[in-house]
Amino acid sequence: MKRLTSILPAVLLTSLALSLSACSSTSRKQPAESTPVGGGKSGDKSVQLLEDVDEYDVASIADPLEPLNRATFWLNDGIYTYLFRPISKGYQTVVPKPVRNGIHNAFENVKFPVRFVNNALQGNFKRAGQETGRFLVNSTVGVAGLGRPADRIPSLADVPEADTAQTFSKWGIGHGAYLVLPVLGPSSLRDTVGLAGDYALNPVNWVSILYGGYAWTIAIPSTNSVRSLPVQLGAYDTAIKNSLDRYLAARSSYVQYRAEAASK
């Protein structure tokens, strides 16, 4: 006990020194290499400059298939411009915004099994429960999911998205390699397998199995595709707008976005 009291001040002083150095602004991490090579205006500034150009963390992904991916990317860009954009524009012109919102909400509500199963697979039973609550409230009070009354219940609002690829990511499986899918766009080997899981878990795709018949098989999934076009094209435009290289801009945005989604 005596020994403890005698070393205590030393420990406390050390932690004081550490905390003071942590809060002083002059003790930032030094750059590995600190020889100013042009660029810096004054001595101090160039040290800081060398420091912060090095430290920025940039999410990246292996892209061994880049030539093929670039070709698919440009093909997709053409499909978006000449096919999807006119459809999206037509849909937004013909269908009024409140109706579009209702349709969007209903399709998102039906996707409940995707979110429920994946939250459960990620061991996040609290979110799986919240999703169940959302589904019940939105399907009943929200009239088949056309409205989203669950957003106004604090314990059910703002539940982060969950999908199969995200589950793989939480299990520690990496992207593998970047892959641009025809029509669907940016993905990776892992996320493509994830998409297959999402497809199987989405009741929208069950209608063909349950009911057969062309009308249902085509009508429902294509309505689902069309309603998601404005959102998807909006995200694509945000990623590539004012870029130097559309392909790289889209790839970087995709990897960062997926990393963020998996971290929530």
């Binding site: 004081l16 150009v53 090095d54 919102n101």
Partner: protein
């Protein structure tokens, strides 16, 4: 370890803590001011071209374009001549202002909710916000640093950092043809808006 020493230590720790707290509060306040300035300008602008013009002075004051450019370029920045650095900064400034302005439509006011900031390192603050615009909700994090004043150095929308996004593209150009290639690609992008 007597009582006096202990009190001294405790005071020092508390002081250090408040220094952190006040810096995050200061940055939050600055961001709120910047957001209000931008939204008011967007409300008053008559069209998108006028919006770009009225936003430029505000953004040049609130965003540290110097820091943004050299980080977007990365380690290659050291091999830029002062002239190339100035050109790259000017061009990148125009590109960022254009990108930012294009997200605002005059007359449609987004709701910005600023949440408590954190300080990942001394002199640096991250302010998380949520932005509700046209019925959609976005998570936007502003990274800020203290120079003369608290200024924005990066904007992270739904996990996508503006700097990281351009870093990938600048790196590629730099590998192809050094500083000149970066400056040329930038000026091409500024002069041919897509």
């Amino acid at each position: 370890m007597n009582l006096r020493k202990f009190l001294l230590l405790a005071t020092a720790l508390v002081f250090c803590g408040t220094a952190f707290a006040s810096s995050t509060a200061e940055a939050e306040k600055r961001l709120q001011v910047a957001v209000n300035e931008v939204l008011n300008a967007a409300d008053q602008a008559s069209g998108s071209a006028a919006l770009v013009e009225s936003l430029r002075p505000i953004l040049e004051k609130r965003i540290s374009f110097d820091a943004m450019t050299r980080r977007a370029v990365g380690p290659g920045w050291r091999q830029f001549t002062p002239d190339q650095q100035r050109k790259a900064t000017d061009l990148f400034t125009t590109l960022v202002i254009r990108t930012y302005s294009s997200k605002l439509t005059p007359g449609m006011r987004p709701v910005v909710n600023i949440k408590p900031a954190t300080s990942p390192a001394p002199g640096r603050v991250e302010v998380p916000t949520t932005l509700v615009y046209d019925g959609s909700r976005y998570d936007v994090v502003y990274r800020m640093e203290e120079a003369k004043d608290w200024q924005i150095t990066d904007v992270v929308i739904e996990g996508v950092s503006l700097i990281a996004n351009y870093r990938t593209q600048f790196d590629d150009q730099f590998k192809k043809g050094g500083a000149n290639a970066v400056v040329n690609a930038l000026s091409q992008s500024v002069n041919n808006p897509k």
